[in-house]
């Protein structure tokens, strides 16, 4: 028997290591954000002001908190499109609970969070138990919660009673917007979950090769229910923070937020086909989207045209990402 068993193929496997394409994507996003800062800093008046930077952090939280959960959902090969209406309905629920049902602010928040986890779990259960495609299960939630939020309020804002807790949630701690602090804390929690828990690794395994995951004894149903319960909970958190900031619950708020969230995740390099993605990528994706949205407003671009520009930029960003990944894979395989 020979002493060494290395084949050229194995050595190449070693060199082609770990997904040059992925870190390239993250470096590319950082570069893009830096370029945006330089360009906007010199063209858009007030872009670099402290107020605007803190405002951006606050905006980023609206997208980011839900995006952490949706990243895991997409890595698992699923999708959740219910975020916008779920956030709006949550803001209504917490306002109604505190203002009209006499629950007090703390219990109203807890009720909202529990409800969020529950409707998420329902979507996950439909997916896991009956093989309802997650797009459809969450489309149902999207439609139902959107309708329910408007029905309960007659499309009118429900004013929150004055409370210190809500003022803090909607305001700042040591000058930093509270939602941004919560977003950052949750980011570290989710980055840890994704990388260092059996659940997190199971998510990658299920998205990468579901039959292999099942053969390895991973409980697919449990993973799927948990995934959607998590995004439901995160939507509820975002809804509570939104209500705190606006001082009211609003059934028509956060419209279209689900697409910003999915765009941020995909721009961050998470594959819609599942199996691949990182929290850091999503963080950068959230940053990218937030900076562009903010810049377009400051530049005074017509608000209808803003959507056009955003659409083009989002597709272009994902296109670059796809090309990079493909090239990295091709070099790896030849």
């Amino acid at each position: 028997m020979t002493a060494t068993q290395t084949t050229p193929q194995q050595r190449r496997g070693r060199v082609g290591r770990p997904f040059a394409g992925r870190s390239l994507n993250e470096i590319g996003l950082i570069a893009a954000i830096v370029v945006l800062y330089v360009v906007l800093g010199s063209t858009a008046a007030g872009f670099l002001s402290l107020d605007n930077q803190l405002g951006m952090l606050r905006d980023a939280a609206t997208v980011g908190i839900a995006a952490w959960g949706v990243t895991l959902v997409i890595i698992a090969g699923e999708i959740d499109i219910s975020i916008g209406p779920a956030v709006a309905f949550s803001s209504v629920l917490v306002a109604k609970g505190a203002a009209e049902w006499g629950l007090g602010i703390g219990p109203a928040i807890l009720l909202t969070l529990a409800a969020g986890a529950a409707w998420g779990a329902l979507a996950g259960w439909l997916r896991a138990r009956f093989d309802v495609p997650s797009f459809i299960a969450t489309l149902g939630i999207w439609s139902a919660l959107g309708g329910l939020g408007l029905y309960l309020t007659d499309a009118l804002p429900v004013v929150l009673p004055e409370s210190g807790l809500m003022n803090t949630l909607g305001g700042s701690i040591l000058g930093i917007p509270t939602p941004a602090i919560i977003m950052v804390v949750l980011f570290f929690v989710f980055a840890y979950v994704a990388r260092y828990t059996g659940y997190g690794r199971s998510v990658y395994a299920v998205g990468g090769n579901a039959p292999a995951a099942r053969m390895a004894g991973i409980n697919l149903a449990r993973v799927r229910v948990l995934l959607f319960a998590t995004t439901g909970l995160l939507s509820a958190i975002t809804g509570v923070l939104l209500a705190a900031r606006l001082g009211s619950g609003n059934g028509g708020a956060a419209s279209g937020l689900e697409f910003d969230v999915i765009a941020a995740v995909v721009i961050g390099g998470t594959a819609l086909a599942g199996g691949r993605g990182t929290m850091l990528g999503t963080l950068l994706g959230v940053g990218f989207i937030t900076v562009i949205s903010n810049g377009l407003v400051l530049l005074g671009v017509n608000s209808f045209l803003q959507n056009v520009v955003r659409g083009v930029i989002i597709v272009a960003a994902v296109l670059v990402n796809v090309v990079i990944t493909k090239r990295a894979r091709a070099t790896r395989e030849t």
Binding site: Q5, Y196, G275
Partner: protein, 503 residues
């Protein structure tokens, strides 16, 4: 050669195991025993009962009768968990790795070690390094599996089984998807595993491999174990005849057809190479001829056809149609030149299940059933009905969804699609896979009729024994090259199988 294993204790004893499925004697009265440190090869044609035996041993199927004993303990009614408990580990043919996870994580898939609740990468990495070290493999535990070569992935798969310290390791054709150069590492690894005292049951069709790593081979046929032979002594002919039995060998070859091989060949291939599977393939194909291409799984059969149909670019070599060399063979160009290919995976690549037979038939060319841009349903129906009659496709009506048809009739429709397009060169990849015996005979007849009508046909099959029944000439591929060309009296079931398997 494997080490002397006469001294090893008996690890597994299979005694009179029988498993019947409705209408099929999948496994009848099987007896088998393997010692620690022994590598036992398991040989047999498709459907000989190898898979059923493996499924019983790995606990997926429970036998109807008979017992399995592992290291003196009864297997009982155990199931998969009991098999794992007793130390039986199986590496199946389909790879079950997650490409995006690291090598170490795949070795521990779903059973990741924890420390303080967190996944313990250090322990995993050390465990992986330990297994690789023992087997002398140089694989980076941190590399994502997706970045590894196919051979390395296969090794990771084997190492995952080894990590669980099996007594019996079952390997189901671990080298079938690998190129020749990669096979060595796998074989050496298997030898090392066995020399550590593990019993190995090794399913393969490649006699050369078997001779290198094992002493003895158990041969199965029609659900029975026919013999266990010393592979050193038995020549290829003996083993092949054990595998085939009398009935398969006696199958009648149809009368010789007259093929005019004097003119310009319709299709001419020189030095075709699509690495790593196809290295050097040349042949001529004349109008009216049925050329068989046979070979074991992984010998490059499908890859040759895909290159000829323009789906995959060839790295080297030339393809000429009617004497004219095709500079840039693309799928569109090849279709225009009259080449049509039917895929081996009928369900996923052949039929559009919910469309009618008629629409499936005309899919290859709409212009003849349209006026201007408008498809004319009347013409579609007429064209479809003509083909249905010509190919004797059994269907309730032309509009019946094709998924309602039997496999054999679906296959005829997929072939008919290229007749509709007017193709003269038909590349048929495993056209009889998964169809019943009667449908097979009908497809053979249809293929020969089409050739009588002037079509040139390449008939690819992994069921080597069927090639003499339908082909005028057969090339056997081995490791990406033409190993033998058989025609006339030399073209027999034995000769084809021997040429494909021989060292």
């Amino acid at each position: 050669m494997a080490a002397d294993v006469a001294s090893g204790s008996t690890v597994i004893v299979v005694d009179g195991v029988t498993k019947h499925y409705p209408g099929v004697r999948a496994l009848t009265d099987a007896h088998l025993s393997i010692r620690a440190g022994e590598i036992r090869a398991l040989l047999g044609r498709n459907g000989a009962g190898k898979s059923t035996l493996i499924r019983v041993l790995s606990g997926v199927e429970r036998p109807d009768a008979g017992t399995v004993t592992v290291a003196g303990e009864a297997f009982g009614d155990g199931g998969v968990r009991r098999a794992a408990e007793l130390g039986i580990n199986t590496v199946h043919q389909e790879l079950s790795l997650v490409a995006e996870l690291s090598v170490a994580e795949n070795l521990y898939l779903g059973r990741w070690p924890r420390r303080g609740g967190a996944v313990d990468y250090a322990t995993m990495r050390a465990g992986a390094a330990d297994v690789f070290g023992r087997l002398g493999l140089d694989i980076d535990p941190d590399a994502p599996v997706g970045s590894l070569s196919l051979a390395s992935r296969q090794l990771v798969e084997i190492c995952r089984a080894v990590r669980e310290q099996p007594r019996l390791l079952i390997l189901d054709e671990p080298t079938s998807a690998l190129a020749a150069a990669e096979v060595d590492v796998v074989l050496e690894t298997v030898t090392r595993i066995a020399s550590a005292g593990v019993a190995v049951l090794y399913v393969s069709h490649r006699l050369e491999e078997i001779r290198r790593i094992s002493h003895s081979a158990t041969v199965m046929r029609d659900g029975r174990i026919v013999d266990t032979v010393d592979v050193g002594d038995a020549d290829t002919g003996t083993i092949v005849s054990l595998m085939l039995g009398d009935t398969a060998r006696a199958a009648e070859r149809p009368p010789e057809r007259n093929v005019d091989r004097d003119g310009t060949p319709l299709l001419s291939v020189r030095g075709l190479a699509v690495p790593p599977k196809v290295l050097d393939v040349s042949f001529d194909l004349h109008a009216g001829e049925v050329l068989g291409i046979g070979g074991l799984m992984g010998s490059g059969r499908t890859e040759v056809l895909r290159a000829l149909a323009g789906f995959d670019p060839a790295a080297h070599g030339t393809i000429s149609v009617e004497g004219r060399e095709i500079a840039h063979p693309s799928a569109a160009v090849m279709k225009r030149l009259g080449i049509g290919m039917t895929p081996e995976d009928r369900k996923d690549e052949g039929v559009v299940p919910l469309l009618g037979v008629d629409e499936n038939l005309v899919l290859s060319k709409f212009s003849t059933v349209s006026s201007g841009p408008t498809v004319r349903p009347g013409r579609v129906r007429k064209a479809a009905e003509r083909l249905i009659e010509r190919l004797s496709i059994a269907t309730a009506s032309a509009r019946t969804p094709i998924v309602n048809l039997s496999g054999g009739n679906q296959q005829k429709a997929v072939i008919g699609r290229w007749l509709h397009a007017g193709s003269r060169i038909l590349l048929l990849d495993e056209p009889t896979r998964g169809v019943d015996v009667q449908a097979k005979a009908e497809i053979y007849r249809l293929v020969r009729e089409l050739a009588d009508g002037g079509a040139a046909i390449v008939f690819v099959s992994g069921e080597l024994e069927e090639l003499p029944l339908v082909c005028d000439r057969v090339l056997t591929l081995r490791e990406g090259r033409v190993a033998a060309e058989l025609t006339g009296a030399d073209l027999t079931t034995d000769s084809v199988l021997s040429a494909a398997m021989a060292a």
